[in-house]
């Protein structure tokens, strides 16, 4: 292929736009790997410390397991600070503010010794329980050159010393990299949220597909009296915007006693006009000869539907499935209205609650956001073609 100067221009424009489109994702990922001090900088940090592979290796040496770290009872960990033997550094475990009893601060023995050209901070777990994480503060003399075993999460000036803070001195490689993710995951019942979202969305897809396929087949392939009237009615419901339905459906659910249950999340959205139309188009596009042949062989309407129409309309089913799943998984307004208890929250509601609770902990916030969008993004990369075609199909008349 011959090189065209215009194609370079095209690539430049597309790439420039693409960078803008992708930037929020990068920023979400980068922030989710930042310590609070890194996140709250007026001048943005492009590559946080936790993103650098060199630091993963350093973190892997700290803690019991190289991957997830931790400190089991009776075990100890040694942090090595190479340097001259001058004024000794101080090390301690910070107390959780306001905690009446803090096993980490009370039950960890901290020793600072100088041996073989380095200051060594030795932390020993003297309690009976294993620590998943262990915060640490080291006051390092300002006059001595600083070479910490792991980049500190915060570095401040405190009188004659540097105050080095680690949120976790026993992280392990993954525990170090994904610190904010673990924090976010443990801060709310995300397992429950994810279950609610997936259960709601998948049920809507499965039952919705079945009902839409039945109705669409009847409308496309079976002549029956009153068909035009049904079709017009379905067309008319398409005109009604979703907002109109919020209040009356809420009232209806309240009368049924279904508020704050899975019924409320699923049932109102089972019948989808969009799905009926989409599948009807598909069935209409199948050749009539197919159905005639089947009928001659003695196939009834149900056989025609399940043996011929459904298998041949697989692309339509996938298209509808993706649309419905995305709609249900990403919905905020409806779950917000019909659920109250934390047990019934979907991931979007959970994230929304997390946003208002997390305050300025942007690392954890972005980690939670990443977790929420991860299933859909992964799904996209596995079924890219189906996604694009499924969405594109919604625009065809």
């Amino acid at each position: 292929m011959r090189f065209k100067p215009t194609s370079l221009l095209v690539h430049l424009v597309l790439l420039g736009g693409g960078v803008i489109m992708a930037f929020p994702f990068y920023w979400m990922l980068a922030t989710s790997l930042k310590s609070p001090q890194e996140a709250l900088q007026a001048k943005p940090i492009w590559v946080p410390e936790r993103m650098k592979p060199g630091n993963w290796l350093k973190a892997a040496r700290l803690g019991d397991s190289p991957l997830w770290g931790g400190l089991a009872p009776g075990r100890s960990v040694e942090l090595v600070f190479p340097g001259e033997k001058g004024r000794p550094p101080k090390a301690f475990i910070p107390r959780t503010p306001g905690a009446f009893f803090d096993p980490r601060a009370d039950g960890t023995r901290v020793e600072v010794v100088y041996r073989e050209g380095a200051w060594r901070v030795r932390l020993t777990n003297t309690t009976g329980e294993a620590f998943r994480f262990l915060p640490l503060v080291v006051l390092w003399p300002k006059e001595a050159p600083l070479d910490p075993p792991l980049p500190p999460d915060a570095l401040r000036s405190q009188g004659e010393d540097w105050r080095l803070e680690w949120v976790n001195a026993v992280p392990g490689a993954l525990g170090y990299l994904f610190h904010n993710y673990l924090e976010a995951w443990h801060a709310a019942p995300w397992g429950r949220y994810f279950f609610n979202s997936f259960f709601t969305a998948l049920t809507q897809v499965a039952v919705g597909l079945f009902l839409a396929a039945l109705a669409a087949f009847a409308l496309a392939r079976i002549p029956f009296p009153g068909k035009e009237a049904v079709f017009v009615l379905i067309l008319a419901t398409m005109m009604v915007p979703g907002e109109v339905l919020l209040i009356p459906n809420y009232v209806l659910l309240a009368r049924l006693g279904w508020l704050d249950t899975y019924y409320a999340l699923i049932v109102p959205w089972l019948a989808s006009v969009f799905g009926i139309f989409l599948l009807r188009q598909f069935y209409l596009s199948l050749p009539q000869d197919l159905f005639d042949a089947a009928r001659i062989d003695g196939a009834g309407y149900l056989t025609q539907l399940f043996r011929i129409a459904l298998p041949l309309s697989l692309p339509g089913l996938v298209s509808y499935g993706i649309f419905t799943f995305l709609g249900a998984y990403n919905a905020l307004l409806w779950p917000l209205i019909v659920t109250q208890s934390p047990e019934m929250r979907t991931v979007q509601l959970g994230l929304q609650a997390f946003v208002s609770e997390a305050g300025s902990d942007y690392g954890a916030l972005m980690a939670a956001s990443t977790l929420v969008i991860l299933p859909v993004i992964l799904g996209y990369f596995f079924a890219q073609r189906q996604f694009i075609q499924g969405i594109a199909r919604s625009g065809l008349k």
Binding site: A42, A215, M239, E243, I247, N249, A271, G300, G395
Partner: protein, 397 residues
């Protein structure tokens, strides 16, 4: 000889069971159930003229105690005795039987609520805590004088004016460039498409972080430290004209800076969808037209102005309609970015106002009035743009 219309019994039975449920929940007077049962009984009596076995259908009258019976009895009857039916009768029966599940759900969750919303809007402050007084169109009269409603409507207007043309223009450019046999098509498409499948909740959380007044990325990029994007109620036109010494007030001050920030995020979110739809539209245009134009010596601009633009117009029209309707339903972005509706309610949208009135202030009737007015506006606008714009749309390729 005419045969007994079993499908009519089936359909009447389905309506009857819905009616019994409605009466039980208090949406329908008990007398109507009596009328329905009576008509059902008459149908059965008429059926006996066609054969005594039709008397079995009378079991459907159990619907008074067990509502689904009215639908299930005729269905079972048809399945058991339906072997000898003519093809036409089978069609009628199967057509209705397949359509009813979806149709019933649509009737319950979409058709009935539309009317019920109108009914609710005629009362004075419905909240089901006390009996509400009938007030006619009073809610609508108050609504038309409600400054917040006009604020929400104004914001919706600006949303359409800003996001729809900008989004369509950008998407058309990207789609045309992607359609030039560009290398790495899949990569670019993914870059532009990912925001669309990302949950708005998570996306808005990231954008809120990007818009952060002190540590936000945008303020660093634009060198505007401290600019609080989401808490600036001043209109953008007013902000832009201020250095020129021109003061503008009220509506002509334009959407607030906060709302512009929300709109920018929305354009980012929906661009991918528009690109995918437009790309599908572009690929449907036959290559021969461009080849013929090239033979005639048409330039790049001429080709796109005289071929692409007119032939793409159905797709553009579809996206325009979608953008117009979508503007009336903007909720999630606003709720996550400005949970209280912004300073002085400057980011209020119709859907957000409806949510506030219905579920924060517990005034279902006023919220229903907002919903009905929104419905009428959307309906009117769709009809008008069909009249005016669709004449220019070229559906034939």
């Amino acid at each position: 000889m005419r045969t007994f219309p079993l499908h009519a019994v089936l359909s009447w039975g389905a309506l009857l069971s819905l009616g019994v449920y409605a009466a039980r929940l208090g949406f329908l007077a008990q007398a109507w159930v009596g009328v329905g049962l009576g008509l059902y009984a008459l149908l059965v009596l008429w059926g006996i003229r066609f054969g005594w076995r039709h008397a079995l259908l009378a079991l459907g009258l159990m619907a008074y105690w067990f509502p689904p019976a009215a639908f299930l009895v005729p269905l079972l009857f048809a399945l058991i005795f339906g072997r000898g039916l003519s093809e036409k009768e089978q069609g009628a029966l199967y057509g209705w039987a397949l359509v009813w599940p979806a149709l019933a759900l649509l009737l319950i969750w979409q058709v009935f609520p539309t009317f019920y919303a109108f009914y609710l809007s005629l009362f004075e402050r419905v909240n089901f805590l006390r009996p509400a007084a009938f007030s006619g169109l009073e809610n609508y009269r108050i609504l038309l004088q409600d400054p917040l409603f006009w604020r929400a409507l104004g914001n919706t207007f600006w949303y359409v004016v800003f996001t729809v043309p900008v989004g369509l223009l950008l998407a058309t450019v990207v789609a045309i460039l992607l359609n030039t046999q560009v290398a790495f098509l899949g990569l670019y498409r993914t870059l532009y498409f990912l925001p669309y499948i990302t949950a708005l909740t998570a996306a808005a959380a990231v954008w809120r972080w990007i818009y952060h007044p002190e540590f936000g990325f945008l303020n660093w990029l634009l060198r505007t430290p401290g600019l609080d994007w989401l808490n600036t109620p001043k209109g953008v036109f007013a902000l832009l004209l201020e250095p020129l010494g021109v003061q503008v007030q009220g509506f002509w001050a334009g959407p607030s800076l906060a709302f512009v920030a929300i709109m920018a995020m929305s354009v980012w979110h929906f661009l991918g969808y528009q690109v995918v739809i437009l790309l599908a539209g572009l690929q449907a245009i036959p290559k021969e037209y461009y080849e013929a134009a090239e033979l005639d010596g048409a330039s790049f601009w001429q080709k796109h102005w005289f071929i692409t633009w007119p032939l793409l117009s159905p797709t553009t029209f579809f996206l325009f309609t979608l953008g117009l309707i979508g503007a009336f339903q903007v909720f999630t972005q606003v709720y996550v970015l400005t949970p209280t509706g912004g300073v002085l309610q400057d980011t209020l949208t119709l859907a957000f106002y409806l949510y506030n009135k219905g579920f924060r202030d517990a005034d279902f009737s006023y919220a229903s009035a907002i919903a009905m007015v929104t419905f009428l506006l959307i309906l009117g606008l769709t009809l008008i743009q069909r009249r005016i714009l669709e004449r220019r749309v070229n559906y034939e390729i």
